[in-house]
Amino acid sequence: MSGSDRLTAYGPILAVAAALAVVPLLTGSNTVLNAMVTALLIGLAGQGWNILGGYGGQFSFGHAAFFGTGAYATAILQARYGVNAWAAFAAAVALGSLAGLMIGFLSFRSGLRGSYFALVTLAFAEVFRIIANATPITGGAAGTLIRLDVRPENFQFASRAVFYWIVLALVVGVLILTRMIERNRFGAWLVAIRENEDAARALGVDTLAVKLQAIGLSAAITAAAGAFYAQYFLFVDSSIAYGTWISVEALLVPIIGGLGTVFGPLVGALALHGLAEVTRLVAGRIPGIDLALYGTLLVLVVAFAPQGIHGLVRRLGAGLGMARR
């Protein structure tokens, strides 16, 4: 692998990271930073979904199961067992991954594909939500609060900017990880499964093992988003953690940004939440306006830009290149 090769692969990621990192220096507005943190958080959840759905072609409708497991794990470990916040964060990521492996093992081993897999993941997330709402350890319907104690060792900061840089670091880490997957054997096998599972098996790909690795990784990333969410808002309940909203957002942002691309989920999340904020400014707080907007955007993307914003930009770029020639 040559140096220039590596530069074209990772250069854009570092450029984007640098550009996003200076945002808190340009604005002191808490509203802007808050919106940016939320957008990056959703982007991170979507990056997790994109590993399994975008690269592996296994569409999950239930990534809330992983987001929620991450959120609850970090909250419960701190609130009930007094575990250090950073250690709880790491444990939350591991537990989220474990939930992914469990759901993946049960559904992939039975050969569930396509809409059947999607429905099963949806069902798992709902089961998790109902259980979380009914068991004492999660605080039931009252939810779980993380005690406010603003100290860095508690993963609590007075400044929104620090939270912003942390979630940005997570997003950038996953951008790099995704690029690495694109360029290694695991990624090649994963994409082969998406394109044609039988052909992959004939070529010696252990499809069950590859899909399990993918869902384990995917769930870990989305669980990190959930754990960060809990740490940022210091509160979780079942409708936040295991709610359908996050399953929808996690799949929506990669589809809008560009399925199976490194930047897709991030671009989708920034576009979606940028648009949502603008609508809120213009239209005020009309209940359900954001959902109506998401629906419209999804229809438009599927109809006119099936490869998302990423594909659209590439097509326009190619068109311009052609025109110049």
Binding site: N184, A188, D198, A202, L203, V205
Partner: protein
């Protein structure tokens, strides 16, 4: 019975393999052997069970009864990827390209079976593409290939796994005569490169020119085996293809006396 010497043991031996789908017996106690270094043909009328027998050998289906010995070991219970690792590669009768990937990326998936490194797999893909005549189309999307091109891609991908035994399922079907003439030497070159080949084929011209041995399957049973010339003259085989009494009628008419 004493164990046969390794040198004379066939590379592949299917022993009384049976596959039932509910009440239908698609393959009925079929036995065949494939000698190391040979090109062996599997022919038979439509619906004879050739593709089913292939799926039993490649592992996509498990036999209801019988054994499948590869290099002396029974592999009947192994999943397809495990058999690929041991050196059995297959192509699909209905081509199964990774449509969204380029030719190079398609072949690299096969090469990754033996090569972990991405760059090494991509380089190997280039080498194999040249072998099957796809060297000029490396960066073309697989979905943009012609039927003949996709058949070559199937071949290249399977070959990139560095197989010991290559199973070709009607790799010539759907090609025009000039395309058939182009691919026949490619198949022969693969064998000359040390890969044993078992092929299901309908294009008899190719079977006659390529195969050392031919097995004939009809209604799930092996009804004849031997050199192609002998097999095609076998009255049982002629009747399987053309119906009861056909061999006699042909002999009387003397059309192919």
């Amino acid at each position: 019975m004493s164990a046969p010497l390794l040198a004379v043991a066939p590379l592949l031996a299917v022993e009384a393999a049976t596959k039932r789908f509910g009440g239908l017996t698609a393959v009925d106690a079929a036995s065949l052997t494939v000698e190391r270094g040979s090109i062996t043909g599997l022919i038979g009328p439509n619906g004879a069970g050739k593709t089913t027998l292939f799926t039993l050998i490649s592992g996509f289906e498990r036999p209801s009864a019988g054994r499948i010995l590869f290099e002396g070991a029974d592999i009947a219970g192994l999943p397809p990827h495990e058999r690929a690792r041991r050196g059995i590669a297959r192509t699909f009768q209905i081509v199964q390209p990774f449509a969204g990937l380029t030719v190079r990326e398609n072949i690299a998936v096969g090469a990754h079976l033996r090569l972990r490194d991405r760059d090494a797999a991509l380089a190997e893909a280039e080498r194999v593409a040249a072998l099957v005549g796809l060297g000029e189309r490396l960066d073309a999307p697989a979905s943009g290939l012609t039927v003949a091109g996709r058949k070559r891609l199937e071949l290249a991908r399977a070959l990139a796994t560095r197989p010991v035994l290559l199973l070709l399922d009607e790799v010539l079907a759907g090609l025009n005569p000039s395309e058939v003439r182009d691919i026949v030497p490619v198949v022969r070159a693969i064998r000359d490169g040390g890969v044993t080949i078992l092929m299901v084929e309908h294009v008899m011209q190719a079977v006659m020119s390529l195969c050392d041995t031919v097995h004939v399957l009809a209604q799930g049973r092996i009804i004849a085996a031997g050199p192609p010339v002998a097999v095609t003259a076998n009255p049982t085989v002629i009747e399987a293809y053309l119906g009861h009494g056909a061999a006699k009628r042909l002999a009387r008419g003397g059309a192919h006396g």
